[in-house]
Amino acid sequence: MKLYLKIWRQLNATSKGEMVDYEIDGVTEHMSFLEMLDLLNESLIQLKERVIEFDHDCREGICGQCGVMINGRAHGPLKQTTTCQLHMRSFKDGDTIYIEPFRATAFPVVRDLKINRTSFDSIITAGGYIGASTGQAPEANSIPISYETVEASFDAAACIGCGACVATCKNSSAALFVGAKITHLALLPQGKIEASKRVLTMVDQMDKEGFGACSNTEACEVECPQGISVLSIAKMNYEYNKALIMKK
């Protein structure tokens, strides 16, 4: 099939970007979206032009490195699907596709469709862990955890850190990302000990990184490739409020 692409090109964080038109022929329905971009880049190389830079790595939906806005939606039209797992059978011959980077003040563009998501790492660095150093751990079965608890914790822990939640949020809020980590750790007995300190430092850092506030529109859950529940945001708020009240 033949497609008309409108792709965001931007040289670096400070330069002004623009949408550029491309045409691409010979796309087959079995191709993944990123393979379609590979094909386009191959043709740009033949034209001796600079290729379109985009982030990607595992191409099986788990590393969280890929992610672009496709026709105005994070990771494109399918539910619970990363950009790399989106296939061209979701499009038809003659379609025009808009491709833009995930946009947020906290996610500056590096080049073209590549963005800088270090702000996510900084939030984890601020406190998104359990302070268990190597070699200190007690026998694993000495802490029984109910099946339901561990499954709920896993649901939140499944976050791949792609940033689709931020990209699709009208406020560019990172509440789902932070909420998922808070929930993952706060549900587990091992994580409860530092829960108050963790939520306060992480929420602080989230603010500092320049993310917006959560308006509970729930758009993030709809676009999250792992389908992480917005209730993890409420859980974060619960932990935060509790920490404020109980703080010495």
Binding site: E100, R103, T105, T168, V203, D207, T217, N237
Partner: protein, 218 residues
């Protein structure tokens, strides 16, 4: 603590819920307008006097004013922060697909409500407090007459009805959003709150919408 956004949200949620509570009281009082005319006049005017005279009520009303102001003020602060966080727009934007219209436009709905409140305060609160109104049989200021006069004008009823629709949408999202901000995360109660929120919104909005129509059509 340096963090502000989440705290601001808590203020918005807390004041919002207080305003929700106030709406119930307000509606209950206003239901007196559905009584037969003579009875309604006497009851309603007595009730209005009660509200303006009692020290306890006075304190509550100050809390109410403060809530209104801070609800709006903090909403503006958070909105500014949100706009800074999402400066760049998408050239092609279909994000609306993923969320409800009212949840994205609480600011606009809130602004409509603010404008409404200015009119509402001017026409009733100000008139009652600072102008000389006729006295009814029981010797109370005849606010009932003001109400009846106001709602006999079609354009005035229309403004009210539109504002109440905005109120409805604002409440529908606001009530449930506040519960989330305050940390209600258990799936079972979340569902209960959602159902309660719908019920609450329908009753409050329906009740307020019925009053001007009832009086206009009478």
């Amino acid at each position: 603590m340096k963090s502000t956004t989440l705290k601001n949200k808590i203020i918005i949620a807390g004041t919002g819920l207080f305003l929700c509570f106030f709406l119930v009281i307000h509606l209950l009082g206003n239901l007196q307008l559905f009584l037969p005319e003579d009875q309604a006049r006497e009851q309603f005017n007595w009730y209005s006097k009660l509200l303006s005279g009692n020290v306890f009520i006075k304190i509550i009303s100050w809390v109410l004013y403060l809530s209104l102001i801070s609800h709006a003020l903090y909403a503006i602060i958070v909105t500014i922060k949100n706009n800074t966080a999402s400066k760049q727009n998408y050239h092609y934007d279909k994000r609306n697909f993923a969320s409800a219209w009212n949840s994205r436009n609480m600011g606009i709905l809130g602004t409509i409500l603010l404008l409404f409140l200015i009119i509402h305060f001017k026409d009733f609160w100000y008139v009652y407090k600072f102008t000389n109104l006729p006295i009814d049989a029981a010797g109370n200021k005849d606010l009932y007459e003001v109400v009846v006069q106001s709602y006999s004008q079609l354009w005035y009823v229309i403004i009210y009805e539109i504002s109440f629709v905005a109120l409805g949408f604002h409440l529908l999202h606001g009530f449930f959003s506040a519960s989330r901000t305050l940390g209600l995360y258990h799936p079972k109660y979340v569902k209960a709150i959602k159902i309660f929120g719908w019920g609450y919104t329908l009753i409050i909005t329906g009740g307020f919408m019925a009053i001007p129509l009832y009086i206009y059509l009478k």
